[in-house]
Assembly symmetry: C2
Homo-oligomer: 481 residues x 2
């Protein structure tokens, strides 16, 4: 298999892994900067020095360029771009989405990508707009799937071809596409045509379609989120199981005078300060950067530093098991990202399946933390406790006479036996002073315990501060001790 | 006046300003890196190149040093340290807090600080531990106040002397200290002895004592938070009105192999990635940094880059009026910071007084956003609306017959007349899909409207989704339309 993916660490549905591309290996999650041969604010060689292991360029531009076509065919893409890492090529699908047509066929672009020595080829899939109606999406998805089948049959199962997942904004079509792509044997699967969703801040829809595609894609597939280039949403996308990002944003934003940060972008002329630790920002005053003759290049470098640092932060969070905390941090940066995050939390039963069992810590970061996978899993685990007939859940001390079992209580998880005091998540969770949201969530643990132990009567002992709230939440299944 | 402060922009109680120190001017908020003459991982000259306008060093170390004492007296501190910016000197109070005694008196240290050419002198105040009982704190505060009075009387009202605010963890004593320091004419006021609170993550107590001191300090005073050096809490402190930070943390952490970030610290050997955009991190692999012979210096540089970038971010947020959003972002980084943030929100009536009237935007970032000053102010403003006898608050459309006034509804603010649709905060606020917390808060606006308009009957029209919640919140004062 020319393209193989292996996950080394995981957290939520995110992975730190390695993607093998022929004889080359790259670490994931990774950002593949987009290189336009006609316009290089930062050269591939410089990108390599910055730690970039893979980039993406557009085969269609090469195929249509008098300047580059023959050189690419003769010398190969790596020599033309002076880059010895992994080079992925897009097929012309992007141009198709912008101009409605391209003067190349599916097999022609794939053969061209092969002939210029691209490491990862992309078929001429149809990136159907999120605005398209169901009929259009189904028809275009059909064409995409035919082309993917054609790619496999013409170039063989071992060719390093990506299998894009389309399906517009219809979750069931994304799900179907994921299944068909997997059935065709693709192991490198971009989720396509999501750029318009990101451009219009429709992160809730983005979460819905990516989660749908992930439901049917093989866990062994490397998932690329096509066109995702703003660092503010990498954590969210990674949490869903996206492994690769690519974007020209660092350069396009730079050309428009836009300064990226992990919490959004600024127009450079609006800044009075340079709120970033990168070399560009620490070595220039705001005015110097605003007026620099090479401002575009400096901004592109800044945007790249920020973006690559975010990839590093995500990898570290996965290794540490603190990705939920990073997602929470990033997704509050814009109300629509928060909407996407909340949508992701609604889908936590799917995420719980892949989430890791033990983590370094659980930091409570506000009401949204109650809906984390660890809480759900803990409350499900409660069904496995062996309990006697009379069970006391004591919010305060954990002592009492006449009970078969006495459990303690830690929000947002719920009741726990003393033996679990040091284990994850009870032992490794840090919470501020109890608040309504977390105690309410903890009460769901009591309800879960009661539901799974019909032979036990649950008594709750808590201070007056919590009585009304507890009664509301567990009313039917508990008794105050 | 040798030390004068002017606020140029403000947000919450935070200020972007300029501190005039003799003939020098520095921008605030600012971090004053601590320089120990015996141990310079990064030289003052390098700090200057990084944009540092002021630093702090310890006069007591100079006064006790065979190597430096005479040179400092002869050549002056600026020449010895090779730094032409502002140099503030500590008196020996730190040593007092660590060793319990020092071999110098209040007037001796001040005279020495004057004689070595320090720009800002600190008296020998007593940094009483937060663990001290009330009697001890009162006694030691008395000594501190005597020494401050002595400083003013011996060196004159124009001497550039700081007036530290002590008082342990007793808010009324901090308040009293703030008043006395102000009455003595000090315009540069460090809040002292808070390092133990920060070291033990007691951010709630930190907020309580700083807010108490701020209540009585003059708004024209420049407030320095003594010993605060971790960038994760600068935003919180700035929001309370602290203008200056100082710390040896960048260097001390580096010596211990600790890597600072705005969301906490890592031990360098635990990192598998370098999650930062700074020049050190982008130019080294993790392993290179871990094994570098000059690792301490590289870590100190990294820590400084992160810290100075955070100061820039804070300044930008104040200019933009988005400091609440930055506080929210940083304070979720640790549950005890969240506790401090929540304490700050409880104190919002005090903050509302200084908060600015109009801001660029209001981004909803979760339940805590409901308690922001802008929401409180908006709901207070509702009292000023002129309303007829029958008032409809319509959650959806804003139309209806037979009402004198029809108001729309935007959570978390509450009801608003159509004329306010484009004004701050209604027009510039972005929220995700309505959630319980924000609608509940918006209902407080309805209650406020009802309370302030006893002659009006308020009718509410909302979808079934919200009826139960609205009834709970406004029950006694509204009627469903």
């Amino acid at each position: 298999m020319a393209l193989a993916f292996e996950s080394l660490y995981s957290d939520i549905a995110g992975r730190c892994g390695k993607l093998t591309v022929g004889k080359k290996i790259i670490k994931t999650p990774a950002l593949l900067p987009v290189i336009n041969p006609h316009l290089q604010l930062v050269s591939p060689k410089e990108l390599r020095k910055m730690g970039v292991e893979a980039l993406i360029t557009n085969a269609y531009i090469f195929s249509q360029s008098k300047q580059y076509r023959d050189r690419a065919l003769t010398d190969g893409l790596h020599k033309v771009l002076d880059f010895d890492g992994v080079i992925m090529t897009d097929s012309g699908s992007f141009q198709l989405s912008v101009y409605g047509q391209v003067s190349i066929t599916n097999t022609e672009t794939l053969a061209f990508q092969r002939d210029i020595g691209s490491d990862i080829w992309v078929p001429l899939d149809i990136p159907t707009s999120p605005a398209a109606d169901r009929e259009t999406v189904e028809r275009e998805l059909g064409i995409t799937m035919e082309r993917l089948a054609e790619a496999k049959s013409v170039f063989g199962p071992g060719a390093p071809i990506a299998g894009p997942v389309q399906g517009g904004i219809f979750p069931d079509l994304r799900e179907r596409a994921g299944k068909e792509v997997t059935d065709l044997g693709f192991t490198f699967c971009p989720v396509g045509a999501v750029v318009p969703l990101m451009e219009s801040y429709r992160y809730r829809d983005l979460v819905t379609v990516v989660m749908a595609a992930k439901r049917t894609l093989s866990p062994a597939s490397c998932v690329h989120l096509f066109g995702a280039g703003h660092p503010s949403m990498f954590a969210l996308a990674t949490a869903m199981g996206c492994d690769l990002f690519d974007s020209a944003a660092y350069a396009l934003y730079a050309k428009e005078g836009r300064y990226m940060t992990t919490h959004g972008s600024y127009k450079i002329h609006e800044l009075t300060e340079l709120p970033c630790a990168c070399g560009v920002c620490r070595n220039h005053t705001t005015e110097e950067l605003q007026k620099a003759p090479d401002r575009e290049r400096l901004l592109a470098l800044h945007n790249l530093h920020v973006t690559l640092a975010e990839i590093a932060r995500i990898r570290q969070a996965i290794v540490d098991g603190s990705l939920w905390e990073l997602v929470d941090e990033r997704c509050r940066g814009h109300p629509q990202l928060l909407a996407g995050y909340r949508q992701l939390l609604i889908d936590r039963p799917a995420l719980e399946k892949t989430d890791r069992v033990s983590k370094r810590r659980f930091f409570y970061r506000g009401g949204e933390s109650c809906a984390r996978t660890e809480v759900l899993r803990y409350q499900q685990m409660l069904a496995r406790l062996r309990l006697g007939k009379h069970v006391l859940v004591d919010f305060d001390g954990g002592s009492g006479e006449g009970f078969d079992d006495i459990l303690l209580f830690k929000p947002p998880f719920g009741p726990f036996p003393r033996e679990l005091k040091e284990t994850f998540p009870v032992g490794q969770s840090e919470i501020p002073e109890w608040d309504d949201a977390m105690v309410r969530e903890g009460c769901k643990g009591i309800v879960s315990l009661s539901d799974s132990h019909p032979g036990s009567t649950i008594f709750v002992r808590c201070s007056d501060r919590w009585k009304a709230l507890v009664m509301q939440e567990i009313g039917r299944c508990g008794v105050f001790a």
